[in-house]
């Protein structure tokens, strides 16, 4: 708009934008009359409220970080709170120049860029990851002052997007005598595991996205293996190469680690599936309860498939009731369960017991102990108990 000549006072120096107007209003607004003033302008990243404190707990040597299960609602773990464990720190890789090399017993050894992988048919699914050793601390040295984060914080649940490993393998042409796939990481120690080819062709993903965005560095940016339902250590992060083999490589991390010792002393290296498991996340340590109605809530999962049922007891196992399962109940994913409960103010013992669609039942601690040597570190899926004292304090009670 051009002002008429001479009316200099109508000539704008600069047309103010809407952002300028909002900022000016916010800056000059006086709260005196109503006590209200406009809030902050929109920022490019939303933030948690300053009154919300959510963190992973990190172990003394900076190797493991655990999800605060008792602080979360719903079944999806916020990406920055996903647990992690690694042996040589988190490498910071660039997407530019990154290649996944697939070689070995294949017709066409090939290097795929991230763009190549993202152009391929994709799969989007929600899966839990759980460390094989989740719960080992609570098994070896149980204490009443253990929270769900401390007991079972090495499990999280995310929506993963990636290309099916089967599709990538079909592109390179797998030789008929190949039966194993070695997956190796870019971490400093070149962590590597042998994966049976049947799993690769089943539901294995080369994943590049988690909860809607590219993988975080801690979860394996730019590409990781996701083996639904299997111990987390086999879902190699920071994938470097995949080599097709006719026999397992017997690396250090599938022999000296992540192998299971049986009662007769035999060592079984290929025990991949995480068993059916559940934990009540509230009430839990360190809560202090008031008498009256509340909802018992928790998470249940199984590496074999869907959760079929979760039973909850509040009287130490004398009686059990089926909890509600929040839909969708997905295979190999955390499932939220809940049960309304009125606490009388007297001592109570709470437990949850999960059953999966394959008929696997979560074992009691006694059943678990009878089945494993005392030195067992892995697959700790027995029933977790919480003791509510008369003063309302909640304490971990399994083996304490």
């Amino acid at each position: 708009m051009r002002p008429k000549r001479g009316r200099w006072y109508l000539r704008p120096v600069r047309t103010p934008s809407r952002r300028d107007l909002l900022a000016a209003l916010a800056a000059t607004a006086a709260p005196a009359a109503t006590g209200r003033a406009p809030g902050e302008p929109a920022a490019n990243l939303s933030r948690r409220s300053s009154s919300v404190r959510l963190e992973r707990s990190v172990d003394a040597i900076g190797q493991d970080a655990y999800t605060p299960l008792q602080e979360l609602s719903g079944a999806i773990t916020p990406s920055d709170l996903h647990f992690s464990r690694n042996h040589f720190g988190t490498p910071r890789l660039d997407a530019e120049g990154y290649e996944l090399v697939v070689h070995g017993l294949v017709d066409r050894p090939t290097a795929f860029s991230l763009e190549d992988l993202k152009r391929m048919p994709s799969r989007c699914a929600t899966y839990f990851l759980e460390c094989a050793g989740n719960g080992a601390g609570a098994f070896h040295h149980p204490r009443p002052t253990m929270s769900p984060q401390y007991i079972d914080g090495a499990t999280s649940n995310s929506e993963w997007v990636g290309v099916p490993a089967a599709f990538v393998l079909r592109q390179v042409g797998v030789a008929s005598d190949a039966s194993w796939m070695l997956a190796e990481s870019h971490d400093a120690g070149r962590y590597a595991r042998s994966i049976p080819l049947a799993k690769a062709y089943d539901d294995a993903l080369f994943a590049y996205a988690q909860n809607g965005e590219p993988l975080r560095a801690e979860q394996g940016f730019p590409l990781r293996l996701v083996l639904p339902g299997w111990e987390g250590s086999a879902s190699i992060k920071w994938l470097r190469r995949v080599e097709l083999l006719s026999r397992p490589a017997m690396t250090r991390d599938e022999t000296a680690r992540y192998s299971d010792v049986a009662l007769d002393g035999a060592i079984h290296p290929f025990t991949f599936v995480m068993g059916v498991k559940s934990i009540i996340t509230t009430p839990s340590y360190p809560e202090v309860l008031l008498p009256g109605w509340r909802e018992i809530r928790g998470l249940a999962w199984s590496g074999h498939g869907r959760i079929a049922r979760v039973d909850v007891t509040t009287d130490g196992g004398a009686t059990w009731r089926a909890a509600e399962l929040d839909p969708p109940v997905l295979p190999k994913a955390h499932t939220r369960f809940r049960l309304a409960w009125s606490w009388s103010g007297e001592g109570a013992t709470l437990m949850s017991r999960a059953l999966d669609e394959r008929g696997n039942a979560q074992p009691t601690l006694e059943e678990f102990r009878a089945d494993r040597p005392a030195g067992n570190d892995y697959h700790n899926n027995y029933i977790r108990a919480w003791r509510v004292a008369a003063d309302g304090r909640v304490a971990f009670a399994s083996g304490c």
Binding site: H87, F88, V101, H103, G104, R108, P109, T110, A111, F112, S113, D116, R119, M120, P121, P164, A166, F167, R170, Q171, V172, G173, L182, A188, G189, R190, Y191, A192, P196, A198, K199, D202, R240, R241, E243, L245, R247, P248, A249, M250, T251, R252, T255, A256, R257, V261, G265, A266, I267, H268, P269, F270, T271, F272, V273, P373, A374, G375, N376, D377
Partner: protein, 211 residues
């Protein structure tokens, strides 16, 4: 046709023309959208379909060699070189003892030598009740596993920095500390796989993997 002819009655346009349009529409739909969906699904399920995507670049044999490859229990993949426990003792003192302790008794890093009594430090094995914690000597099924791990992952703060002769020497030293090889025995690609590890008979790797 789509706009119809004003000479036709409303009923005739509605019934016959719409019918013809519907048939054509379904047929067109099948060719354009259903066909494309079929190809997409097919591509995920067959070698031919997947290969047709034509993505990725071929890797040259020298690139594959540079990536490194598996060292198998039977010795396939072991590099050239050799070393004895005598030589390894020197390397250990300078490159390993800082974390693993003098003579491998353990410190911030795992204990490497079998304990005479209940041991201190990080436990890597699964002892029977009353037994001292195990070391690699009690738990590794193959000596080659110790080689492949030391070569790619050690020392912890500078992994992969040891030469192959040094790795053979260190492995020989660690095996000698545990009474599994002679102090002056030279380990190489031929003799290393032949070392019998006590845990070998405990492993059930031939069991079908639990899927």
């Amino acid at each position: 046709m789509l706009t119809g002819s004003t000479s036709r009655t409303r009923t005739r346009f509605t019934s016959r023309t719409v019918f013809v349009l519907a048939v054509l529409g379904v047929a067109c739909g099948k060719r354009s959208t259903h066909g494309a969906a079929d190809e997409h699904v097919l591509a995920s399920l067959t070698d031919a379909g997947a290969t047709a995507y034509g993505l990725g670049r071929p890797v040259m044999p020298e690139e594959v060699r540079a990536l490194g490859s598996v060292i198998f229990p039977d010795g396939t993949g072991l590099p050239a070189g050799s070393g004895t426990a005598l030589q390894g003792e020197v390397v250990f003192a300078t490159r390993c003892a800082g974390c693993h302790g003098p003579s491998g008794v353990g410190a911030t890093g795992p204990r490497l030598v079998r304990a005479r009594s209940v041991a201190l430090g990080y436990r890597i094995g699964r002892p029977a009740p009353g037994e001292p914690p195990a070391t690699f000597a009690d738990f590794y099924p193959y000596a080659t596993t110790l080689f492949e791990y030391t070569r790619r992952a050690m020392p912890w703060n500078e992994p992969g920095s040891l030469g192959d002769d040094d790795v053979y020497a260190l492995v020989a030293y660690m095996l000698w500390l545990n009474g599994l090889v002679a102090r002056d025995a030279a380990l190489d690609a031929r003799s290393l796989p032949a070392v019998a590890m006590p845990a070998r008979t405990r492993f059930r790797e031939e069991d079908p993997p639990q899927l």
